[in-house]
Amino acid sequence: MSFAEYSEIIQEGDVVIIFLGHESMMPIKVQSGAQTQTRYGAIRHSSDLIGQRFGSKVTCSKGGWVYVLHPTPELWTVNLPHRTQILYTTDIANITLMLELKPGSVVCESGTGSGSLSHSIIRTIAPTGHLHTVEFHAQRAEKAMQEFKEHKVSHLVTVRNQDVCKDGFGITGIADAVFLDIPSPWEAITHAKSAMKRKGGRLCSFSPCIEQVQRTCEALLDHGFEEICTLEVLLRVHDVRAINLPLPDFGPEEGSADSSQMASDVSQEVAPNTGNTSVICRTATPPREMAGHTGYLTFATKPQCE
């Protein structure tokens, strides 16, 4: 198992995701002899996990069952231990595409935070790229390094514990893309620019507040960045369900036996046990509240050095 490469069979030391049911998952580290308690009972690592295929159903000691999933950056994002506010898959997906990340890309990121985006970047640039990530909080930097190791991706990433605004990313002239998620991104633009390759590159800055965006755009313009663009993306999840709609009774029709005529006017499935008085509709309703604002994404291009 690796967060950047699939495998088929669960092994000791793997990090796996236990799927307990609708929207309920948890990550566990597989260790011989260990047990993990769930509401369905205990999962015994040695017999239930090691040697089993990812995706298998596992019955717990109380009789209930769960699924064991191969970790992915997307699953990690919704299951990781938060040390900071994190980026979610919707933003991550757009950042990845608009920074043109692909295998071999060299990327700089700051701050590392809880590693949500980091894992996604690593997965995308593997096996030939590299992520240089900077985190000014010593403990978080340490935790990130530990997790990358556990997730078998540490060869693809370098974590530096420093202040990106003062000391930059620790490298120059090699990055294809730079990502900033810090309180004052305008202070890091110079370093971002020098980290990027001479032939140019892409930059993205994520900020929750519009004032930050304004200052960042100004700084980008001053530094000669082009194609500056700010956007926001929101995901709307549709709730799929079957609904029961009662049919009206207009009384018996002239010349027909009963009001079952109504049901045939509506070409839907008649609800059982209702005597043809209601039908089932399969539909999807948008949620009452859409996901809240996460942040603004500002993209820009550093043109090639002449």
Binding site: E8, S56, E74, A93, L97, K102, T128, H238, Q304, E306
Partner: protein, 420 residues
């Protein structure tokens, strides 16, 4: 680790055959760079030949005779530039700095659905972009966990845009199997990504019409001759026939003149040649089919991406059979209802978890001092996605039942002890 300073920018230089986007102000045009081919753009005509070898993003002027000249550097001859400004300062690739943020290049490009940063290989088929918005494509690639080294099934009718994007994220590692309806896979869009040739070795194709045969184990992959008959059986027959054919004219031509004889022999030769070419082509096709089948029959693909005009439900149910457990799948549809059907079907059938039906909203902002506000809201029009993760079918039932019996037995024993 890629830490060399001398990065080669060979891949970002314009070559013949590249699709480039010409830009002047807010007007864009995608053209292919061809030798001595006249290009018309913004009421000017010119040749792109002199662009070859230059870096993408270079600014040009149109010189005499329609040939391109590199735009003079800004610091030299400024006065000259401003003199020319009044007359003919039309450039192909505009200076981004003179652009206001509200009318940024990227805004327009994105409205058209183009992924435009550096002006490089971009899909040349605008019409297909109007349905699949780039933010939806972004979700597809990430939700599908598309990455190097995996084996991905793709079924798309977006002229190869989705296929190309998947291949780009695989970086030439792993394999992509394009499932296709009808005669052959459409890849025009994919071609314009300009992948290095070794990428193409990772790309396979398999016709939908043979899926059932493959699943049933009855797919015929044996070698065939030009007539599509099994080689071992009828090879003697066909050679016999051709012999007969070649002998026929001789016996009939005793009375015909020499020219007629020569023509007949020539026609015969061409026919043989064509038959030979056909045989080679069919053998190639057979080999390709066999290699794709070999990748599929293990039923252990790492992901599935569907983005087509076909009803997604049967496509999804059919192709999911090839996917390993604990792997993601993503289905794009312009409309919601077909995906609701897929969702319902999957719930009934099992084998998939974390089903989500989503669409994304995209809002652009104009960011200017004292004039910052949203500009454009793109919602609903980007299509819908159904995503999920495969899980094992209920084969572990017996083993687990056994297990739970075991647990019950243990519990009883403990109770006995504790009550004693």
């Amino acid at each position: 680790m890629a830490e060399s300073v001398n990065d080669s920018d060979a891949e970002s230089r314009i070559s013949f055959g590249d699709y480039v986007v010409l830009k002047r102000g807010d007007v864009f045009k995608s053209v292919q760079v061809e030798n001595k081919k006249k290009v018309i753009f913004e009421k000017q005509w010119f040749f792109l030949d002199n662009a070859v070898g230059q870096l993408f993003g270079t600014r040009f002027e149109i010189g005499a005779g329609g040939s391109l000249k590199l735009k003079a550097a800004k610091h030299s001859g400024d006065s000259l530039d401003s003199k020319e400004a009044g007359q003919d300062n039309r450039h192909i690739l505009d200076d981004g700095k003179s652009q206001k943020l509200t009318r940024d290049d990227i805004e327009t490009l994105k409205e058209q659905g183009l992924k435009g940063q550096h002006l490089y290989s971009i899909v040349n088929v605008f019409v297909y972009f109007s349905h699949l918005r780039y933010d939806t494509l972004a979700q597809i690639l990430t939700l599908g966990n598309i990455h190097a080294g995996s084996k991905i099934l793709v079924f798309e009718t977006c002229a190869g845009l989705v296929l190309g994007s998947v291949m780009e994220r695989m970086g030439g590692f792993g394999s992509v199997i394009q499932m296709y309806p009808g005669g052959g896979p459409t890849r025009a869009g994919m071609e314009s990504f300009g992948f290095p040739s070794h990428f193409h070795e990772t790309l396979h194709e398999f016709p939908l019409c043979k899926v059932n045969a493959l699943l049933a184990g009855t797919l015929d992959l044996s070698e065939k001759d030009a007539d599509g008959n099994r080689r071992s059986e009828s090879s003697q027959e066909t050679s016999g026939v051709s012999e007969e054919r070649s002998s026929e004219p001789q016996s009939m031509e005793v009375s015909v003149d020499q020219q007629e004889e020569m023509r007949r022999v020539e026609r015969e030769r061409l026919r043989e040649q064509k038959a030979q070419e056909k045989k080679v082509k069919m053998e190639e096709k057979r080999k390709k089919l066999a290699s794709a089948a070999a990748l599929l029959e293990g039923r252990n693909a790492d992901g599935l991406v569907i983005a087509s005009r076909f009803h997604p439900c049967p496509v999804l149910m059919g192709l999911l059979k090839f996917i390993a457990p604990s792997r993601p799948f993503v289905v794009y549809c312009q409309y919601r209802e077909p995906l609701i059907e897929c969702y319902t079907k999957l719930r009934e059938q099992g084998g998939a978890i974390s089903l989500r039906l989503t669409d994304s909203w995209l809002r652009h902002y104009q960011v200017l001092p004292n004039r910052t506000h949203p500009v454009l809201l793109m919602s609903g029009g980007g299509g819908y996605l159904l995503s999920g993760t495969t899980v094992a079918a209920d084969s572990a039932k017996t083993r687990n039942q056994h297990k739970s019996e075991e647990h019950v037995a243990k519990r009883l024993k403990l109770d006995e002890i504790s009550s004693a």
